[in-house]
Structures are given as C-alpha cells and as structure tokens.
C-alpha cells in the first residue's frame, strides 16, 4: 500500500529550540497512524506543519506522490488535510450548519449563501458520522461531545482525505470516547488516512493500525501496532524503560493540617467534611462534574461556599480570595493550565515569583537577583527544560509549563497543595516525574490533595481516597479497601454486589 501523505526530512526550529530535526511520517488510506512521543517531542509542531500553519525549513511533503507545499492553513485544507484539535475552534454564537460550512459555504446562482444546501449538507455529513444533531441548533447550547462531532463534520465537509485527531479524547467522558472510536472506524472504512495523537496507551492500542515515535524532535521508529508491545513502545518514547510507574513510598502521616467541616455551596456541593494530615496524599475520585474541582476552588478562594468552616493547624481561617488562601498556606494547581495556571506572555521567572512577590521584594519593590534565585532554585528541583529563565512561558511544551506552575506554588512554601488532574494531557515520562515529585513533597511533610479521574493514578498515589458523586462525599477508603471496583461503584452510584 502506498501512503497518501508523506513527510520526509522535515526540520523546523524556533529561537533556542530545534523543534523538528529531519523527521519522517507516512499516512496510509483507511488506516490510523498514532504519533507517539513525550511532551516536547515535536508532535504539535508536526501537526502544524501538516496543516500549513508552520512552514518547515527543509524537507518535503508529498501528497499522492506529488511534492506539495502548504503556504498557509487554507492551502492544506484545499489539498484535503484537516485537523481536529483538543480545543475545538468553533463559534458558539453560530448554528451547527454555519460552523460546519464557515469559509466554504455552498452558494446559489446569485453568489449568495445557499441556506437550504447548507442545512441539508450538514445533515448528510452528520448522518455520515452517525449523528442526528439538528443543524439549526446554536453551537453554544451543545455539550463538548456534540461540539466534537460538529468539528469532525466540518473537517469532512472539505472533502478531507487526511484527518488529524489531536488528543481528541482529552475532554470526553467514557461514553463519548466510545462514540469517537466508532467514528474513527467509519472514517477508516471511507478510506481516510488518520493521524491520531494521544497520551493514552489503551486508546492507541485500541484504534491505531500503525505507530510513529518521535523523541526530542527526532524520528525514532515506526511500525505496525500489532507487532509491538506497550513496554517496547514506552522504551522507544522515553529512551529508557519505565518499569515502575508509581513510586513506592512509606508514608509518615502526621497530625491534621486541614479540616473542612459542613462545607455547603448553593449549587455545586453539599456537606463536605474531611481532614487532611501532614505527609498524606489524599485522593479525590469521581466522575467529571462530581463537584471535586468546585470544592477545591472554594478552598482556594475562587468561589465562596455559603456555609462551613476551614481550619488550618486548628485555627479557623476565613478564605474569601486566592490571596487569603495563599496566606493560609493553601495552593492550587488548576486543571485548566492554559487559562488558570500559566501566564504565557510573561517570562518563566516572573510566572514563578508572581505569588511570592512580597518575599522577593522589599517595601513593594522587586529585587531582580532574588527573583532569579527563587526561580532557579525551584526550576532546578523540577528539572525544567528551557533555554533561559527569561524565556516566555508560552514557548515551552505543555509538560514544562506544568512544571513551572507547580514550581510557582512550591516557592510559596505552602502547607497544603491541591493538584487538580496534575498529569492530564502529559506524557508517561513527565507523568512519572510528577508522581515521584508528589511522593517527595509528601515525604517532606506537605499535605497533598490530588484530584484525579484516572483510577490507576488514584490508587497508585493516594494514602486515602474520598469519592464524590453529585456534589457529595459518598465514600472514603483506605488501605486494602482501595480497589478499582469500589471506587467505580461509589462514583457511579452502583450498589454493592451481593
């Protein structure tokens, strides 16, 4: 079989970074190729080269054996290459049909937009991917999964032959993910060549036919999925074998640090009570929307609960703002890194010192040398990869941005650190690093709360697990009682099997 699209010898660099060096990639009709690599391996850059957003410095792109150059995104779309990103770029105020046809709407003979053709075309495209969504609905009224369907229908409306799925399942629920798998199967039978980017190995093994591995911007290898095992693939990815995923630790649980009692919120949660101890990792498990993040954000002063008390070291603390929370020693690493965690336009060192400005300054004035010292200390601890501390944070890969966000909080010397989905969307290597680091923090006596939707992570890391469902705590388990079955049952509200 001949590939539809091939990349050969592609290189692309940015100031201080060689993002891609001489990489290759082949996409075959009717097959799913998984592009695998750690954060910073060059996956996103490759997608941008494929879709015409970046122009490579050297190398060739061939489509059906012809050399092509994508001068811009439109050129790539015209050639039949389209991408569906993790964060879909759609317009909430437009209808489903308008979103699908935006930029290439069908015209009538007067050159005006043909609404009827648009609506029918949208319905056909949606039917082709097994959806009965009404094309006249306002997009903003749809859930994330339906939005994904619209994004895919939009991609297909351009007669795309090459479809890039860039971490499509990151924001989806279990059921929605399965619908996506079915959709990928449909696209395969239609002969589309699919590039699939994901950090989740179970997904890759489930739907990919082939794999291509990048590491540090270089091509490492490729092959057929059924000829390789998980361990071998991980070894290719990280250049070393990750034999032990979770660090073994002997927890030394000290006195209580944080006590929450009778925490109520008008809409998000009710009657939340728990105690967190020194040196403990407390896992919060539940389905998406169970109210875990909302409780954490209330503890961090983002939202205000209507009732309840928070005690730290047995002293009642009133938390009305993030400023109060930080002063009380509670810090929060948010799930939505791009919006809430990282300030991409500011340099790395300024991101790190932002909550600690009072400490690196004197009388409200900053001392640059101390700022750099603080940033240096904590970035070294987290093994950050960057060209300089003065570099804009936005230029780093996702995993490294997350390290900066964590460094920022550790620099405040907190008593309690809350990590909300700390390893979401980051690769296995960085994941292991974050896990080891959490274990280290707990060993130093920090009290850690970890909100996670990944059962292996919750079980592997926590000393104790609290399960939430519909805004309430429904179960609390420790020791041998911590089994996957028990967590899933509690989270889903299924009664204990007889």
């Amino acid at each position: 079989m001949k590939p539809i699209l091939s990349l050969r010898g592609i290189s692309k660099s940015f100031p201080g970074v060689k993002a891609l060096q001489n990489v290759q990639l082949d996409l075959y009709p009717g097959q799913v190729t998984a592009l695998i690599g750690e954060n910073g391996a060059g996956k996103s850059t490759t997608v941008k080269v494929l879709t015409g957003i970046y122009q490579p410095e050297s190398g060739a792109i061939t489509l059906d054996g012809q050399d092509v150059q994508f001068a811009n995104a439109q050129a790539a779309t015209d050639a039949g290459v389209t991408a569906i990103h993790q964060e879909t770029v759609l317009f909430d105020e437009l209808s489903v049909a308008e979103n699908i046809w935006l930029g290439h709407a069908p015209r009538n003979r007067f050159g005006l937009i043909d609404r009827r053709a648009m609506r029918n075309g949208a319905r056909d495209l949606l039917a082709g991917i097994g959806s009965t969504l009404d094309p006249d609905l306002r997009l903003g009224d749809l859930g994330i999964a339906s939005k994904h369907l619209v994004a895919i229908a939009r991609a297909l409306s351009t007669d795309a032959r090459v479809v890039v799925l860039d971490e499509p399942t990151a924001a989806l629920s279990h059921k929605e993910i399965h619908e996506l798998y079915d959709l990928v199967e449909t696209l395969k039978t239609q002969g589309k060549a699919i590039l699939f980017i994901s950090h989740k190995f179970d997904e890759i093994f489930r739907i990919a036919d082939r794999y291509t591995v990048f590491r540090d911007g270089q091509f490492v290898g490729e092959g057929l999925m059924h000829e390789i095992g998980e361990t071998a693939l991980v070894r290719m990815m990280v250049g070393r074998s990750v034999d032990q995923i979770f660090p073994t630790r002997t927890s030394k649980i000290g006195p209580p640090v944080l006590t929450v009692a009778g925490y109520d919120h008008p809409t998000e949660f009710a009657d939340i009570r728990f105690t967190l101890h020194e040196g403990e990792i407390l896992g919060f498990y539940g389905l998406v929307g169970a109210g875990r993040s909302e409780v954490m954000q209330a503890l961090f002063g983002i939202t205000t609960p209507s009732k309840g008390a928070v005690r730290i070291d047995d002293k009642v603390r009133v938390i009305r703002s993030t400023h109060d929370a930080i002063a009380a020693g509670i810090v929060y690493v948010p799930e939505d890194r791009g919006r809430q965690g990282a300030i991409r336009g500011l340099p790395i060192f300024q991101n790190i010192t932002l909550p600690s400005l009072a400490r690196v300054g004197r009388n409200g004035f900053l001392r640059m040398a101390e700022e750099f010292k603080l940033a240096r200390d904590y970035t070294q601890r987290l093994d950050l990869r960057a060209a300089s501390l003065d570099q804009e944070l936005g230029l780093l890969s996702g995993g490294n941005q997350q390290k900066v966000v964590i460094a920022k909080w550790l620099a405040t010397k907190p008593r309690v650190i809350i990590l909300d989905e700390p390893t979401k969307g980051i690769d296995i290597g960085s994941k292991a690093a974050v896990h080891e680091f959490m274990a280290e923090l707990a060993a130093e006596g920090l009290a850690v709360i970890m909100v996670s939707s990944e059962i292996p992570e919750v079980l592997g890391m926590s000393d104790r697990v609290i399960v939430m469902r519909e805004g309430r705590i429904v179960d609390e388990v420790t020791g041998d009682a911590m089994t996957p079955e028990r967590l899933v049952r509690a989270a889903a509200g299924i009664a204990e099997a007889a």
Partner: protein
C-alpha cells in the same frame, strides 16, 4: 545505546543581556524617530534650536503626557479610561467654584486633585467593583463629567485665579525648566519605578496577560484595577491644576479631545492596546516625538489639520513597521 540522561541542567537566567535586548526593542525605534525629527526640525527652521523655544514647546505635551503615564499602566492591565479629558473639565470647574468661594492657592490645588481622585474612584468602582467593561463605563463618564461642568458653567467662564496660582502652569523651576516639565520628569521616574521595579507593576503586567491566571496566583485583580483608575483620576486632577493655571481660566470645553491624544501617545509609546506589554520610557519618547512634531510644524506655520494627518500616519506606520518586518 541511546540512553538519554536526565540529570538536572542549569538554566541560564538570560540569553540576552538587558542592554542587547534594549537595542532591539520598540524604544530604540522611537529613539531613531525622535532623532530624525529633531534633525529635520533643526534644518528646516532657524528658530528650533533655541533653549527658550524648545522649553515653550514642552507645554504642548506635558499635561497630556502626565496622564499618559497612568493611562499606560491602565492599558497594560487591559482596561482603558476615556474620561480623562472630562475629569480635567470637572476638576477645573471644581477649582473655579472653590476660587469663587474664596479659597487660596493650596486649597485650590487640593480641590483639583481631590476632584480628579473622586472621578477616578467612581470609574474604578464601576469597573473593578461591579465588573462593567471599562470602555463603556468611561465613554459614559466622559459625557457625565463634562456634562456637569457645562451645567455649572453654561457659556460662562471662571476667571480671576489668584496670582500665586499661575506658577503651576507658567512658572520655571530653574532657567528654561518649567514647573510642568520638572513635574513630568519626576512623575515619569516615579511611574517607571512603579511599573518596572515594583510588585504592583508586575501585577499590572500579569493581569494584562491573563487576568484569570493572575487571580489564581493570588493577585487581587479588582484592587489593582481600582488603584489604576484612581491613578488616572489623580493624574487628570494634576493635569487640571497645571492646565487651569496655564490658561488662567476655566471653560467647560477645556481639554476637549485630550483623551484621544493621550491614548495616541500611549500606543505610539509601544503599549499593546490589548494589554500585557509596554514601558514607561516608550511613553516618554512618544511624548517627546509628539511634542517636537507639533512644535516643528508650528514653526513652519503648517495648519493644524496637516499636523493631525501627520500624527495619524506616524502612529499607523510605527505600529505597522514591526508587523511588516516580522517582529512581535
């Protein structure tokens, strides 16, 4: 084996020295433009290179530039205040009323500054307290503040300020250096320290880049924004004292159109109109450029409308150049 080593690497603080960075900055473009205008002016008019004439020329921009210092911080934070000229009108009217009530010079100054602060607090409450969009709020207060001045004054004017009051707009501290110029210089140094060397300034940049993440980092976003509106109010009050003193009278139409010239100065100075970046040296350079262009054209008897066209073209080309050459 291609075993990758994962030992901690030391990350350098900076790749470029601050001096090297400054050379490639927006401000260096502005310096070049300023020098070009200075040289052109020197050749085209024999009256340009005269200390007293140059000193006179600074009155073209000092009052607006004082406001531009505070406006720069506000725009960097992602907000804007279009009511500054109307605050001048209201503050000047308040001073006129105080004068009629028999207030002496120190009281007049306090009234002017106080009125500016009150107006700023009102804007700040609406934007930071109630979360309304600043562009709408300050378009509203722009009409409101000047409207009050018109109600009080109608088509009359306050004249007859005490002789001692003239110093702020007409006095000289030493030789050719006017009180206004010296005041602006001192304020520029204060604002430079505030924006570039204080934690407050850092918070302003953080808010302008990502207000949500700033809030998640413990920055009291509403408080910072309120203070920024207080500062533009304060600077407008100070400008009102200087301008009223210089003109010797108050009319409700005083300082009409200042807000757009202030915003022009700020944008020409390299502040991103969408917030997040900009510097005080840029504002000072932009003020000098605008002042010299106005003065040079004045010497050549160029009509005011041509001057506006030139400034408009200058603004657009200075903004467009870096985009065309792929910087920023």
């Amino acid at each position: 084996m291609t075993q990758q080593t994962h030992t901690a690497r030391a990350i350098p603080d900076r790749l470029q020295s601050p001096a090297a960075r400054a050379l490639r900055s927006w401000e260096s473009i502005l310096v070049a433009v300023a020098i070009a205008i200075f040289v052109t002016n020197s050749f085209t008019s024999p009256y340009f290179l005269n200390a007293w004439n140059l000193s006179d020329a600074t009155f073209n921009f000092t009052e607006k530039a004082m406001i531009a210092l505070a406006m720069a911080l506000l725009i960097i934070s992602g907000e804007i205040d279009l009511s500054v000229a109307s605050i001048i009108a209201l503050a000047s009217t308040a001073m006129g009323l105080a004068m009629q009530a028999g207030a002496d010079v120190p009281i007049l100054v306090l009234v002017g500054i106080g009125a500016g602060l009150l107006c700023g607090a009102f804007n700040g409450f609406l934007v930071a307290g109630l979360g309304l969009p600043s562009i709408v709020v300050t378009i509203g207060t722009m009409s409101l503040f000047r409207g009050i001045a018109y109600i009080v004054l109608g088509d009359r004017a306050f004249t007859g300020y005490p002789p001692g009051f003239a110093y702020f707009g007409q006095g000289y501290v030493w030789w050719v250096f006017s009180f206004e110029l010296v005041l602006f210089t001192v304020l520029a140094v204060i604002y430079w320290a505030l924006l570039h060397r204080s934690s407050f300034g850092r918070a302003v940049y953080a808010i302008g880049n990502n207000a949500t993440a700033a809030q998640f980092s413990g920055i009291r976003v509403a408080r910072v924004k309120f203070i920024l509106f207080l500062l533009t109010g304060l600077m407008s009050g100070i400008a009102a004292v200087c301008l009223t003193s210089r003109l010797g009278s108050t009319r409700p139409s005083i300082a009409t159109g200042f807000e757009l010239e202030v915003v022009t100065m700020v944008v020409l100075g390299g502040v991103n109109i969408l917030g997040g970046s900009g510097s005080i040296p840029g504002i000072v350079l932009a003020a000098l450029i605008i002042g010299m262009v106005t003065f040079g054209f004045g010497l050549l008897n160029v009509p005011g409308i041509v001057m506006s066209i030139f400034l408009g073209a200058l603004l657009i080309s200075v903004i467009a150049l870096p985009r065309l050459f792929g910087k920023r």
